[in-house]
Point group: C2
Chain length 464, copies 2
């Protein structure tokens, strides 16, 4: 290390030559003109191992791109400021008057950082770093943190569900006031469903939280979401498995979604998680405990005895129907030993005729086959059309308004609970916590980006 | 046939005995009390072949249920009115001053009727019946009708797409002012996408229309939708493949959705079709031509030369990712000779690590693999995370904000257009009509059930 930082840090060969020639430096806020257009942002440093053919730019959108050296015509520097992304680590203060909350780390964007070697965003969950980044947490609760593992959320699966559920049970036995699970957003709703089935009769809140923008970005929702989650875990009256994420696109409040009725609906918006076919349970801000929007939730009761059902059968699949689907799709699942299939059918729960025969074969050979709807809103109602009745006669069981994802996770769990086909079916059709509701609320068919006064008025007038 | 109708029509044995004993008749509007609850509706006649163990009730919701004889405790008749469901057939009048429109029938609920043999809803598309049911059509246009085939929409596939596209081309050559396609709603959006790719440079509108409630139900949307479709086909300025269905839940207006950006989002609501990641193109009522909500559409131009690309490769599949998906799902597709795979990944376009190896194998063996997002809203942006970059290196190509269904249909079409991998990729990444848009409009992340004044105000203020 030298006192004078290298203005072309990590660049070598052609890349370094280009920067020198055009008078641009690492950390320049600049506009790069290429043969295909202009790109504005900050030039990032690179690692020694990186190729010498690209300049990496952190665009104003927060995303990074690599621009090929030979396409760059000019670089105009507007500003220069070296970034310091290292988050200071600090010990969390303890206040005996405050509730104890445990934050369990699984990986994911809530603590992602930019990797300057590759210019990519990488997960880096360290609870101490989180506190360092967001000291307001200490005003809400005492926080203990524990890293369970560190995986991208698309790599979460039964192994991680079981570890997480068992750790939550242990923490509850130790008497915590609430639990926060830090989780990547991609499959946060799947994990929320898994925890809903595995952890029944919760005495305290279990709050899943993530962030859609990493904490090195100005529009990051990490700190806001984490504080809302801490309020919900420490002071919330709702003792359920809940997802705590942005309500409107602005950081005005978060919504608390029931773990079995929530789904990620936008790849990049912070308001991506939406309750489907039902309404969210509460709003929450960093400053105050959650405000319920409804009354039908399970209330906190530290005396309630938790039931842990830590089982999962892995040979389960979702079959997402598309026109002209061929029998081989179902036949392969039978041949490969799948024990359960959740179909996401069209309309009220339909698939085409060529699938009837393999579905009959599946049901006859003991594979459990259930029907959900790919419309996401509404019910599988297979008695309306002849074709639906035919499918039910083959042994396909409609799951009312259970979301395909919630059904997939539940089937893995139910097949873990019992080897008896009738018992599994009974488990599937008996809602644990809202995954089937008797009717859809009149105002439940809605996705709102929020932030506009009319929309918020709508939310508040109609969700209360 | 006798002059006095049988008051227990179709009922025999125990069922007939029960009706006699409780003094209830077929066509009674009544309340049936059972050991599990009360059911209100109209007792339907049964066929001679039906069992004698059930009374079939058409409930006030429009759905039919069979109630087991032994559970019925009492039947209270409120009213009695024999239903006449036969729709009169009439010749469509011709007015030389009106535009000529052709209605192509494919089957589906727009003309479904109740089958009194089984108590189920069956498709029964006869264009003459349609006119008989909705004479207002003659005020809008001259209508010719042609039944192409009669299949439930979940059984639509490439064979039907090709027949439909070729017939549309023929009709356009014959000089019609516009075309209506009557279609079941389950896969209406898939067919709309297929027509968008197969029929390019349309001189006149091609309007797909269906109904969510069969025409024997009081809340049917069949006649309203058909009139809106006729207005759009005969008088609309928008010469694109469009889906014409309910905007709000009330029958105030229909929306015209671009064929590549629309999806069925509710299993039973009439307002089920929504434009995703974009805004609808126009509103339309039965009384007047469509009113555009935007300016960026293709205008009617009878001189424009239609290009028909009537090709489709059937060995294409959608893989809808779920946590813990195993390699066998991809391997089976390779083994079974699939030529194209559209993944609906999580988040910005991700799948788990165990799928990398089979995906590499797929790409290396010439299978075209594309990535879309199962969030439905937002973009596949695979350069943000290491994992996305890894997938791209394997050969997986992100499709920006193309909907999984629109991508599946496009890949079948593109593989039909060319055997050359690079050409197929070029076709996939070059939007034909809005299936990829450069950015998502600021107000495009929204599903509204509509009908509430605030919501309509929102629609009209923000979509214009």
């Amino acid at each position: 290390m030298t006192d004078t930082p290298d203005p072309y840090k990590g660049y070598r060969g052609r890349g370094r030559e280009l920067l020198k020639r055009l008078g641009a430096r690492v950390w320049s806020d600049c506009t790069i003109t290429t043969d295909t257009g202009e790109f504005s942002g900050i030039i990032l440093p690179r690692s020694e191992q990186a190729d010498d053919r690209h300049i990496v730019l952190k665009m104003n959108t927060g995303y990074n791109i690599g621009i090929a050296v030979e396409r760059i015509q000019s670089i105009v520097e507007h500003d220069y400021k070296e970034a310091h992304y290292k988050i200071p680590e600090q010990e969390f203060p303890f206040d005996p008057a405050k509730p104890n909350v445990t934050l369990l780390g699984t990986g994911g964007t809530i603590a992602s950082r930019l990797d300057y070697r590759t210019g990519a965003v990488i997960p880096a969950f360290s609870p101490g770093e989180l506190y360092g980044a967001c000291p307001e947490l200490a005003d809400i609760c005492n926080l203990e943190t524990k890293k369970l593992f560190g995986v991208f959320s698309e790599n979460m699966g039964p192994e991680q569900y079981l570890i997480t559920a068992r750790e939550i049970a242990k923490q509850i036995e130790n008497g915590v006031a609430g639990i926060i699970i830090g989780h990547g957003t991609d499959t946060l709703h799947h994990t929320a469903a898994a925890m809903s089935y595995m952890l029944q009769d919760l005495p305290v809140p279990v709050i899943l939280v993530g962030s859609q923008r990493s904490s090195d970005r100005p529009s990051s929702d990490a700190a806001f979401n984490l504080q809302c989650a801490a309020q919900s875990a420490a002071h919330g009256e709702l003792a359920e498995v809940l997802v705590c994420m942005f309500g409107p696109t602005s950081d005005r409040y978060n919504l608390l979604h029931r773990g079995t009725r929530v789904r990620k609906m936008h790849s990049s918006y912070r308001s991506t998680f939406r309750t489907l076919g039902d309404t969210p349970l509460a709003t929450v801000t960093p400053e105050a405990p959650p405000e319920p929007l409804r009354r039908d939730f399970t209330r906190r009761d530290p005396e309630r005895k938790l039931n842990l059902y830590d089982v999962f059968e892995e040979r389960v699949a979702i079959v997402y129907y598309y026109p002209n689907m061929q029998p081989d799709i179902i036949e392969s699942l039978i041949d490969n030993g799948y024990k359960g299939i959740v179909i996401a059918g069209t309309g009220l729960g339909h698939v085409n005729k060529p699938l009837y025969e393999p579905l009959r074969k599946a049901c006859e050979s003991g594979v459990q086959v259930y029907m959900t709807v790919q419309t996401l809103w509404g019910y599988a109602q297979m008695y309306v059309y002849d074709t639906g009745r035919d499918l039910m006669e083959l042994g396909v069981v409609p799951l009312a308004n259970m979301l395909p994802e919630a059904a997939y996770i539940k089937l893995g769990w139910a097949l873990g609970m019992s080897d008896d086909a009738e018992r599994v079916k009974e488990l599937m059709l008996t809602p644990v916590n809202g995954e089937i509701t008797e009717r859809e609320q009149y105002n439940a068919y809605v996705v709102l980006q929020g932030g506009l006064p009319e929309v918020d008025a709508f939310l508040h007038d109609h969700w209360r």
